[in-house]
Symmetry: C2
Subunit: 86 residues, 2 copies
């Protein structure tokens, strides 16, 4: 499964484009972020992607959840934003 | 309309409880945050609230959007997380 990984340095418009592209193909996308700066960029990207997809008549919803990821042998808690169409 | 305002200092479990309470009564809640720290707390609170409400058989979705707010005469961009049931 492809996960769109977002960092605090990610450009929101680029992430939004990635989300929109994956949703158009698969009706679903998973966006993952670790830390406040990254989560903020991810949420803004989803807001922008909603606008992009609305133009195509696609309405997306966001389901936030916690997930554990392994970063260099250390377990970190990440936020995953599951994106679905409705 | 009542808006649940979240800051970077907000306790996620308290915000989650507020979201769950408002959704149980109104099938809808608006959560607002300004800045990365606040948006992070808000998203974590929604993830926790999803768990609380799932126990009641209520499934919530999150619709992130940008909104403008007036803070001491200055216009700031906030993130609003619109919470709906599905």
């Amino acid at each position: 499964m492809n996960i769109i990984k977002v960092s605090s340095e990610s450009r929101t418009s680029a992430v939004a484009g990635a989300i929109a592209g994956v949703v158009r193909e698969q009706d679903h996308a998973d966006v993952q972020a670790i830390g406040a700066g990254a989560v903020n960029q991810a949420v803004k990207a989803v807001a922008i992607a909603r606008g992009y997809l609305k133009e195509d008549g696609i309405s997306i919803i966001c389901l936030p959840e916690f997930t554990s990821v392994d970063i260099g042998g250390k377990e970190r808690t990440a936020i995953r934003l599951v994106i679905e169409t409705r």
